[in-house]
């Protein structure tokens, strides 16, 4: 019996998934557990497996379709078996196609139109799709012929005056649509096109290119809107000297020969943040309506920019990991993120987020809290500044500006400030990390 393959439900709030790829075609033999399709949940790609051995058949959705969870997407068939008939609640597009097919039998073509079509070797289908009418007359065919004269003959229908204007202004008539009889281009059409051109030079017409929201974008927009509307966010900023941190990093890296194993600044900051969170557990929390939940793990997410969105892989138990492990994990996660291979676990249970735009030459910025977390730390680029001492002498110091956004429902400015102070002292005593 045909075994249904359904769109799996990967998360409790998930309502639909997008089909990204069919890994097998209809008729392919598959074994139980073989991946047959790649689908996308909110932020990551998942594989759908064959529920039993057999032949893939009756594929009901194409790549790009968003399919409600638990809907049948295909079947596993046994030899000689065929996929069940399409159920009545199939998508509307199929119905429309059937309706069109039925309509075609009712198209009326006048004898003169038929003769004209035969002479010009025109297919009924192209005339119908051009005219959108069920009665084809000579006028319909003539309109089609003139509208397609450029495509059919390679020649442009234009008056001599229109051609002259086009020549004088170096304007290609092919780009202009004619308002004259049989779509002939007239002088006024060229003049209009020219005035449009000139206008463009001053105020270009607004062109729109539609970018449909993919699942990552949908999730980001939903979460960020919710955060911005619901969370009273306060921001605190501190310039923290990092010369000693840099020196410590160099010391650490001297003993590491493999380039891909070198400790990154982000890793050191992540470790420092974990330590600061240990001292300030209120920042490692969730706001839950009438209460605040302090979390027993410190799982720091590191925001990673992808081509099609932002993703936040999580370094679980950050406080319990040594710097080298954190550095490796961040590198590993961001590579998997960029190749789309993150697993649901890699993204779940973050308790605090670090967003670093230093590599984009940003001095400082404010990040929006990623709910349900209570705070996010925005990291700018390393800058060299003159730093005055007590005696008004000065030296050159490297600093990074850290900006903390925190949920004011959960904490007050002083608590957030204490966290920043602790972070500063941890970073300035990097050797103790």
């Amino acid at each position: 019996m045909a075994k249904e393959i359904i769109m799996p439900k990967f998360g409790f709030t998930q309502e639909e998934s997008e089909i990204l790829e069919w890994l097998h075609a209809e008729g392919d033999r598959v074994e139980k557990g073989d991946p047959v399709a790649v689908v996308s949940t909110d932020k990551i790609s998942m594989e759908v497996e064959a529920p039993e051995d057999g032949i893939l058949g009756g594929i009901r959705y194409q790549v790009g379709d968003n399919v409600p969870v638990t809907n049948v997407i295909a079947y596993i068939l046994q030899p000689g078996e065929s996929a069940p008939e399409i159920a009545l609640d199939e998508p509307e597009s199929t119905k429309v196609e059937l309706a069109v097919a039925e309509q075609r039998t009712e198209v009326q073509v006048t004898p003169v139109a038929k003769k004209l079509m035969d002479e010009n070797k025109l297919e009924l289908d192209e005339i119908i799709s051009f005219a959108g009418e069920s009665k084809i007359t000579r006028a319909t065919v003539e309109a089609y012929l003139s509208a397609n004269s450029l495509a059919r003959t390679g020649k442009i229908r234009a008056t001599p005056a229109a051609r002259r204007l086009g020549r004088e202004h170096d304007l290609k008539l092919a780009a202009i649509s004619g308002s004259g009889p049989k779509a002939r281009i007239q002088a006024a059409d060229v003049t209009q096109a020219l005035s449009g051109q000139k206008k463009e030079a001053i105020t270009p017409a607004l062109q729109k290119k539609t970018l449909p929201l993919n699942n990552i974008r949908k999730t980001i927009s939903r979460n960020m809107l919710q955060s911005w509307q619901e969370i009273p966010q306060m921001t605190l900023q501190a310039d923290i000297p990092v010369s000693r941190l840099e020196a410590y990093r160099e010391t650490l890296n001297q003993s590491i020969s493999q380039k891909s194993k070198k400790i990154t600044v982000t890793a050191l900051i992540t470790k420092a943040v974990a330590k600061a969170l240990q001292k300030n557990p209120i920042l490692n929390s969730q706001f839950d309506g009438d209460k605040i939940q302090l979390l027993d793990q410190i799982n720091i997410g590191v925001a990673t920019a992808l081509d099609d969105g932002l993703i936040v892989p999580v370094v679980h138990q950050t406080d319990k990991k040594p710097i080298a492990a954190i550095s490796d994990q961040i590198r590993y996660l961001s590579e998997r993120a960029r190749s789309g291979k993150l697993l649901p676990d890699d993204l779940s249970n973050g308790t605090f987020t670090i967003s670093n735009l230093g590599m984009f030459e940003i001095d400082r910025f404010t990040a929006i809290i990623n709910p349900p977390q209570s705070a996010i730390l925005a990291v700018g680029k390393k800058n060299r500044v003159f730093m005055p001492a007590e005696d008004n002498s000065f030296h050159v110091e490297e600093i990074i500006t850290f900006t903390l956004s925190a949920d004011h429902r959960v904490m007050d400015g002083a608590q957030a400030a204490r966290f920043m102070g602790d972070l500063k002292s941890i970073l300035q005593n990097a050797e103790d990390l």
């Binding site: 008056t159 001599p160 005056a161 051609r163 002259r164 004259g180 009889p181 002939r184 007239q186 006024a188």
Partner: protein
């Protein structure tokens, strides 16, 4: 200024020319006592006598032959063909002799005669008395062809034709004879080969001849109420054609409608159209050159059919409007 009819303007031109120059005389059928089929020569017999107002037997070949012979021997005859249709009988003398002599004799002979030809339909005179044959003569080298549309032009062009040393075919229109207009009493000429800008406009040029000029003016007045601004040019002389004003007008308006009463096929409109196409005006055409002309049929005797066989005011309005609006 004094207003007289087209017919009176022609008569005045003939009288003044005959008073001024003894070599000018008139020859035709029933032009004496009867005063001509349309009354153009009424009273001239009394003033000038039968030697200068010569009634002939019914022989168009005779009239034309006498004109050619008199012209080459120093006279300046005015021949009248009672209805222009009958000119078919005079073709040999006009085309084979009159038109060619000056050239065949190496310029030693001049042939200064005028043939007056009342043409056109609209009088219920049927197929043999209603034709518009002007373009036949446009096709003959050696002949000049004139076609006045107003009393002023009729007098000035006829006096110019009489002064002209080459044969001139002078086409009058039966329906124009009674139309009135300002005409100076003194002698004056309108140069042959000079067109008239009848009405200035910017949207569309109508080139009309003879009776079609007043019809085009009436049409233009009505179209101006619709916001269509028509320019009208009357060539007045079909040959030699004053083409530059036509070309300039089309460069201005980009659209042209040619209106004449003669049948469309082989009519003078085709010649004007070709002149335009060959000129620099081609690159300014923003619509096909259109012709509105008589139907390709003999003029019917039935008055209703006759009316519809040639362009009327409403036809010009419709054609010009459609051309202006791009519905053609």
């Amino acid at each position: 200024m004094r207003e007289i009819s087209y017919m009176e303007a022609l008569r005045e031109a003939i009288r003044q020319a005959m008073e001024k120059d003894d070599r000018v005389f008139m020859i035709g059928e029933d032009i004496g006592v009867y005063g001509g089929a349309f009354g153009v020569s009424a009273g001239l017999l009394d003033q000038f006598g039968p030697e200068r107002i010569i009634d002939t037997p019914i022989s168009e070949a005779g009239i034309a032959g006498a004109c050619v012979g008199a012209a080459v021997t120093g006279m300046r005859p005015i021949g009248e063909i009672q209805f222009s249709d009958f000119v078919v009988l005079a073709m040999e003398q006009i085309v084979m002799q009159g038109a060619k002599m000056r050239f065949m004799f190496g310029g030693k002979a001049t042939v200064p005669f005028v043939i007056r030809l009342p043409g056109g339909s609209g009088t219920g005179a049927a197929a043999q008395h209603s034709e518009s044959l002007e373009n036949w003569f446009v096709h003959v080298p050696g002949l000049k062809v004139v076609m006045p549309s107003t009393p002023y032009d009729a007098k000035g062009l006829l006096l110019a034709a009489i002064e002209e040393d080459n044969p001139v075919m002078f086409f009058e229109h039966k329906l124009l004879y009674k139309t009135k207009g300002h005409v100076p009493e003194e002698m004056y000429t309108i140069p042959i080969g000079k067109s008239n800008l009848v009405r200035e406009g910017k949207d569309l040029t109508i080139i009309a001849t003879s009776i079609m000029v007043p019809r085009a003016i009436e049409a233009a007045e009505k179209l101006s109420a619709e916001g269509i601004d028509i320019e009208i040019i009357d060539p007045r002389t079909l040959k030699p054609l004053d083409d530059q004003p036509i070309i300039a007008s089309i460069i201005k308006t980009g659209k042209v409608l040619i209106v004449h009463e003669a049948v469309k096929t082989g009519g003078f409109g085709g010649e004007i159209s070709a002149v335009i196409s060959e000129s620099e005006a081609f690159d300014y055409l923003d619509a096909p050159i259109r012709r509105l002309a008589g139907l390709d049929m003999p003029i019917p005797y039935n008055r209703t059919l006759e009316y519809h066989a040639v362009p009327q005011v409403e036809d010009i309005i419709e054609e010009a409007r459609n051309l202006y609006q791009g519905k053609y």
